[in-house]
């Protein structure tokens, strides 16, 4: 099997990694960079647990080849570290937005990109925006509340950097 060399910035650290051409971004992150916060559920794009940011936008790392990320900036749940990320974590904790934690990294990454868009959103809009992330434990209400609160906070303080 052929290999490719991928230059990719992961959570601020530039890396050059040689992988088999068929390697997904998820496998690169988990097996090669040892960032196991990104979870793999379905590998079909449906469950959302593998969601990471690529050049600022959410993508399914199970449906993105590592080779397609050459030159890209990737941020995983481990790399979410600013005021929006902290507010999200805080509300996830107080709203009971996680139990087993399997879906949580994908929820946080998806929620993070959502709140960074700084648009007013009611509960239904938040729920629809999270429809691509499956949670088998919580029943979603806590997650939706947490993301909506983080969104409201972001709108109120306007500290987008």
């Amino acid at each position: 099997m052929s290999t490719v060399t991928v230059k990719v910035n992961v959570n601020g650290t530039p890396r050059t990694i040689e992988v088999e051409s068929r390697t997904s971004l998820a496998d690169l992150l988990r097996d090669r960079v040892r960032l196991t916060g990104t979870h793999l559920g379905c590998e079909q794009g449906v469950c959302g647990s593998c969601t990471v940011l690529m050049d600022g936008l959410p993508v399914r790392s199970c449906l993105t080849l590592a080779a397609s990320c050459d030159g890209a900036e990737v941020v995983t749940v481990e790399g979410l570290d600013d005021a929006d990320a902290h507010r999200l974590r805080q509300h996830f904790s107080t709203e009971g937005a996680l139990q087993c934690g399997f879906c949580t990294s994908g929820m946080l990454v998806t929620g993070y990109e959502l709140v960074r868009r700084r648009t007013e959103m009611d509960r239904d809009q938040v729920a629809c925006a999270l429809a691509g992330n499956i949670c088998r434990c919580t029943g979603y209400n806590g997650i939706i509340r947490a993301v909506q609160k983080a969104n409201d906070d972001g709108m109120a303080v306007d500290d987008l950097t």
Partner: protein
């Protein structure tokens, strides 16, 4: 390059249809040619009558209005309804057309709009109307060495009214039915997705509308009879499940008509 690599090579655009199939090991192409960052395929051009979108433009770029929408918001609405945001950030309009799922947004919506695509091989380039481009389940008139490079869209007249109605059980899933109605003075273009192997022109529904007083929505029963005719269905012979599916299509079309014909709200 595709000619050189032969049958074992596949184009990879966003990978949002190809990689799920590869992850299931249903396809194992020996070579992938990644076009997702080819600059020429990512640009948009416009003039007074039309807009050209590069085939590698993502659903998200259209959703977020990063490229012009000459169809008065129909494109942005269609894009925003595709799957989930993370799918839209990778999936491309050209990939969706080449994949040719009749339940997907672009095949039905862009056919209803009357768009053309430019298709290129190493030797040749041709521009073909999407009406006639889809041949069957996941099959198009594309040859294996051909690439869709661009989509050409006509500008809607200001008075054009449109509605896109997708019926699904959960936000982000493929539609169980999808109807597009585009109504402008004196003419209507009404298409149905997810009903057959290719998008279906609802010619009988279009006639029903033409024969109807303007701005009045035909009754659901009338719409259902016309949809059945357009799908070549003989209602008395249908079993319950088939009737249920017909009803879903009829309701979806009826909702689209109601929205496209209602005078006050923009569609």
């Amino acid at each position: 390059m595709l000619t050189e690599l032969g049958d074992d090579a596949k184009i990879l655009a966003g990978g949002q249809s190809l990689l799920p199939i590869m992850n299931l090991r249903l396809a194992e192409p020996a070579h992938l040619v990644d076009i997702s960052r080819v600059g020429d395929l990512m640009g948009a051009d416009e003039d007074t009558t039309s807009v050209t979108l590069g085939a590698a433009i993502t659903h998200q770029a259209i959703e977020d209005g990063l490229v012009p929408d000459p169809c008065l918001g129909l494109l942005t609405t269609a894009a925003a309804g595709i799957g989930y945001r993370a799918i839209r950030c990778r999936g491309t309009v050209g990939g969706s057309l080449a994949h040719a799922d009749s339940a997907a947004e672009w095949p039905t919506v862009l056919t209803a709009i009357g768009a053309d695509v430019t298709v290129r091989s190493a030797q040749d380039e041709r521009t073909v109307p999407l009406r006639g481009f889809f041949h069957g389940f996941f099959t198009t008139s594309l040859e294996s060495d051909e690439l869709i490079t661009a989509v050409h869209l006509p500008r809607f007249a200001k008075s054009t009214r449109w509605a896109l109605e997708k019926t699904n059980r959960k936000e982000g899933e493929f539609g169980e039915s999808m109807a597009v109605a585009i109504v402008s003075e004196g003419s209507a273009s009404i298409w149905l997705g997810a009903a057959k192997d290719v998008p279906v022109n609802l010619a009988h529904v279009e006639t029903l509308l033409a024969d109807h007083p303007a701005d009045q929505v035909p009754a659901l029963g009338e719409v259902r009879d016309r949809v059945a005719a357009d799908l070549d269905l003989s209602v008395p012979e249908l079993d319950l499940a088939q009737r249920h599916r017909l009803q879903i299509h009829a309701v979806t079309v009826h909702r689209a008509l109601s929205r496209a014909l209602s005078p006050e709200v923009p569609a």
